[in-house]
C-alpha cells in the first residue's frame, strides 16, 4: 500500500509538472516536452493503479500502451509542423525548401 501511495504521488507530480509546463507554452519544444512528461505520469498512474491495487492488470497495460502511442504521435506531429513552418519560411525567402 505504501508503494502504491508513493507511485501515485510521483505520477500526480509528473502530470501536474507536465501540464503546467505545457500551459506556459514558451516554445514548441518546451510544450511537447511538457506533454511527454504528462504522458509519462499517466503511464505510471495507469500501471500503478491497476497493477499494485489488484485490479484488472490488462486494462492498465492497454491504457499505458495507448498513452505511449499518443506520445509518439505528438512527437511526429510536432516535428512535421516544425518542418512545415521551416519549409514555408524558406519558400518565402526564395530558397530551396530543403
Amino acid at each position: 500500500m505504501m508503494t502504491l501511495r508513493i507511485v501515485l504521488i510521483l505520477s500526480a507530480a509528473l502530470i501536474v509538472l507536465g501540464l503546467a509546463s505545457a500551459l506556459r507554452r514558451r516554445s514548441l519544444i518546451g510544450y511537447l516536452a511538457g506533454i511527454e512528461l504528462g504522458i509519462g505520469g499517466i503511464v505510471l498512474l495507469a500501471s500503478a493503479l491497476f497493477d499494485l491495487s489488484g485490479f484488472d492488470t490488462s486494462t492498465g497495460g492497454v491504457i499505458a500502451l495507448a498513452a505511449i502511442a499518443l506520445g509518439v504521435a505528438v512527437a511526429v506531429i510536432g516535428v512535421a509542423l516544425h518542418l512545415w513552418a521551416r519549409r514555408a519560411g524558406r519558400r518565402a525567402a526564395d530558397l530551396e525548401p530543403w
Binding site: 505545457a22 498512474l45 493503479l49 491495487s53 484488472d56 492497454v62 491504457i63 504521435a73 514555408a88
Partner: protein
Amino acid sequence: MVVPREASLAVEACLALAAIAAFSGMVIGGPRSGRNAHRAVLIGGIAALVAALLTWRIDAIWFFEAFRVDRVTQSLKALICIGLIVFAIRPGTTDVRGRAVPSFFAIVCALGLVLSAGAGDLIILWIVLDIASAALVLSVATGGSAEARGAEVRRLIGAWLPMSLIMLVGIIITAAIGGATRLTDLETALPGLRENPAALTGVALIAVSILLRGARCVAVLLRD
C-alpha cells in the same frame, strides 16, 4: 422497409471509402488531385448523411460492445456529416481546392468524430477523439500558409493535448473505481458510487475535457 443490421455501419463505411479516395488522390498527385479529394469529401459527407438518416431506427452493438448504434448516435453522426458538408461548400475552401491534403485530413477528422459518437468504451472514445483532434490540427495547418495558420494551429494544439491528458486521467480514475471501461458496465456500476468523490472526480474530468476541447475547437473553426 427492412434495413439489415449490417447497414448500421453504413455511415462509417461511406466516410472510410471517401477517406480512401481522398488518400489515393493525395498519393497519386497531379493537377486534379485536390479537386477530386474535395469532391470525395462532399460526396462522402452527403452519402454518410443519407446513410445516417436511413439507419436512424436501427439499434445494434458491434465489436464486443465497443461500438453502439442507436437513435442518439445516428443523430449525432448526421450532425457531424452536416458539419463536413458545410466545411466542403463554404466559400473559404475555394483557394485550397488545389490541394488534397486538407480534404483528406478533414474527412479523417469527421470519421474520428463519427466513431466517437458510437463509442461504447472509454478507451475507444479517447483514441478516436485524439485521432479526430490530430486530423483537425493537420487539416487546418495544411489548409493555408504557415504565417496565416500558425496562431490557429497553436490554439488547436493547446485545446487538444492538455485536454487529452486530463481525459485520460479521468478515464483511469473512473475505470479503477468502476472496475470497467465499457459504458454498459459503468452504467450499472456508477450509480452505486454517487457518494464516492474519486468516481465523481473521474467522471467530471472526462466530461470537462470533452466539453472544453469541443468548445475551443469550434471557437477556432468559427473564427477561421
